[in-house]
Symmetry: C2
Subunit: 301 residues, 2 copies
C-alpha cells in the first residue's frame, strides 16, 4: 500500500574512526526511502536548492521510489551537515550545519500523493510536520520522528502533533527528556498518554523498545554487528524498514508492528556497514530476510 | 545437581533516589545464593568477622542453602560497602569501602563441598579465585565474575583464570576494557580467544549478550521494570538465576544456557524492586516463571 515520506536531503560530511566521507548524499528522507524501497513503493517529498550536486533519479534508479514530490528550488541552497563520530560510535558531534532550504517553506505534497495510506514525517520543526500532515487526505497510519531541539523550544507544537499521529519514533535520550523521567519504560507510558497509540524508542547499539497505549510491549536488541563504519542514517533506515514492512503488509496490529521493528532493525544494520548509502545499496531483500531469521535465532529462548 | 558459590558477605549502606538503607545485608554470595535457591540447592562458602550483625541461618531459613562453608573469623571484621545510586539508577558511586576480612586468607572449601558440579566464583582478586578453584575436585561448569580493578592491576592472574573456567560473566564497560575494543560483539569474540567457552556481558537496563567459542550468540533485553528501588545485587542475582537454572537442568548446551540467561534476567528484576534482599525474598518460583513467560512474549516476533 502507498507509503509517503517527507524529510531532509543533505550534503553530508562525516568523519568516523574509519575515515572521512566528504559532501556525500544524506538526509532523513534519502535513508528512509532507500530502506523502505526494499518493502514497498515510496512516494518522496523533499526540497533541495539549485546547488544540489546529486542526481536523485539516478540514485534511486531501478527502485520503486516516486520522486514526484522532489522540488528543486531556484535561488535556494541545499541543507549541509558535518558530523564526527567518536571511538565508541555511539556519540557524535555536529561540527557544522547550514539549514538553508530547510528553514524556508516546506515542500508541497503533490495531489497524486495526498491519498497515501502510510506516512512518515521525518524530523523537522513540529509546526512543519503539522502543516505537511494537513496536506494529506486520510492516512491510516502516520509515524513521526522528533529531536531534543523541538522538545526544548517547540513543546506546544510537538504536543499538538502527538495528538494527530499514530506512532512516535525517537531515541532514548529524547524520550527521557520529553517525559522528564529517567526510567524508559515509564517514559514510554508517560509519552503515550500525550496522544499517540504506539511509541518506539531507539537505543542505538542497545536495540529498541515499542509500547502501545493498550499495554503491549516489545523489546528487541540491535542486530549484533561487528562492522560499524558510519552510523549516519541508521535511525531513518530503521524507520524506513519499519514503515516499509507495515506498508507492504497493509496491517498495523501489534504482531505486525513487532515484525516491522525487527525489519527496521536489520535494515539499519546494513546502513551502518558503509559510508552514506553504500551499506544499503549493496544489500538485497534476500539478505535482509536472512538477517531477520538470524536475529530471531539470536533472541529466541 | 550441586552448585557452589564463593563470594563476599557485606554490611551495605545504600542510598538511592528512593531512600537509604543502612547497614543492611549485602555481598555477592548472599544475593547469588538467595537467587539460585529458587532453582537448586546451594553450597555457600564465605567469611565474615566476629562483628557480623546478621543471623545468616535465619536469613536462609526454609531455603535449600547449605551454610557449611560459612566461616566466622575471630578477631576479624566484616566487609563494609557504602554506595550511592544517581537519578538514572545506572551510575553508582562507591562512597566507602572497608575490605576487612576480604583482604585476609580466603575461606576453606569444606571437604563435603569439593565434589560440586557447578561453581560460581564471585568477584574477588583472580589469584583468590584460582586458589578457591584449586580446592574443587572436577567441576563440570565454572563461571566467574571480575571487575575493572583486576583488569587494571592483576591482568596476568586474570588471564590464567580465564583458561581454567568455562564461563566469564562481566559488565559491558569491563568487557570493553578487557578486550581494548569498543564494539561489544567484537570484544566478546576477543575475550573468548583468551580461553573460556562462554562469555556473558551484562548491560544493565539494556539487557545482556552471551557468545560461545563456537560462534553461538544470544541477545536478551532486560525485563521491562518500572519499579527500580535499589539495583544493588542485580548482577549477582542474575548470576544466581543463571547458574541456579543450569544446576537444576544439569545441562550446559547453548539452548539451556539461553534459557538460563533469561532466568537470570527475570530473577534480577525482582532484586531491584526493593532494598537489600527484600525484592528477592518477597518473590516465588511461580512469579519468576510468570515473568519468564512475559519476557518471552515481550521479545518474540
Amino acid at each position: 500500500m502507498s507509503l509517503l515520506v517527507t524529510g531532509s536531503i543533505g550534503i553530508d560530511t562525516v568523519k568516523t574512526p574509519h575515515g572521512v566521507s566528504e559532501r556525500c548524499l544524506g538526509g532523513s528522507s534519502i535513508y528512509f526511502s532507500m530502506a523502505a524501497s526494499f518493502f514497498a513503493p515510496v512516494r518522496f517529498v523533499g526540497v533541495v536548492g539549485q546547488d544540489c550536486p546529486f542526481d536523485l533519479p539516478q540514485v534511486f534508479a531501478g527502485r520503486d521510489v516516486d520522486l514526484g514530490g522532489l522540488e528543486v528550488r531556484p535561488g535556494s541552497k541545499t541543507f549541509v551537515w558535518h558530523g564526527t563520530y567518536h571511538d565508541n560510535m555511539n556519540d557524535r558531534t555536529t561540527d557544522h550545519v547550514e539549514l538553508n532550504v530547510l528553514q524556508e517553506a516546506p515542500p508541497k505534497v503533490p495531489d497524486a500523493f495526498r491519498d497515501s495510506q502510510f506516512v512518515f514525517l521525518a524530523n523537522t520543526a513540529p509546526a512543519l510536520q503539522l502543516e505537511l500532515l494537513g496536506q494529506m487526505a486520510a492516512p491510516a497510519f502516520v509515524a513521526a520522528d522528533t529531536m531534543n531541539l523541538w522538545i526544548d523550544a517547540n513543546l506546544d507544537d510537538l504536543k499538538q502533533l502527538l495528538q494527530k499521529i499514530h506512532c512516535l519514533i525517537l531515541n532514548d535520550e529524547e524520550a527521557k527528556q520529553l517525559a522528564g523521567q529517567p526510567n524508559l519504560i515509564q517514559a514510554a507510558e508517560d509519552i503515550l498518554a500525550m496522544g499517540m497509540e504506539v511509541i518506539i524508542i531507539k537505543k542505538g547499539e542497545s536495540g529498541s523498545l515499542m509500547c502501545s497505549s493498550n499495554g503491549d510491549k516489545f523489546l528487541l536488541p540491535a542486530y549484533p554487528a561487528t562492522e560499524v563504519i558510519d552510523p549516519t542514517g541508521a535511525g531513518d533506515s530503521f524507520a524506513g524498514g519499519f514503515l516499509g514492512y507495515v506498508a507492504e503488509s497493509g496491517r498495523t496490529d501489534f504482531d505486525t508492528l513487532k515484525l516491522a521493528v525487527a525489519y527496521g532493525t536489520v535494515t539499519a544494520s546494513f546502513t551502518i556497514a558503509g559510508f552514506s548509502l553504500d551499506g544499503l545499496t549493496g544489500t538485497s531483500r534476500a539478505a535482509i530476510d536472512q538477517r531477520l531469521k538470524d536475529l530471531r535465532q539470536f533472541t529466541s529462548f
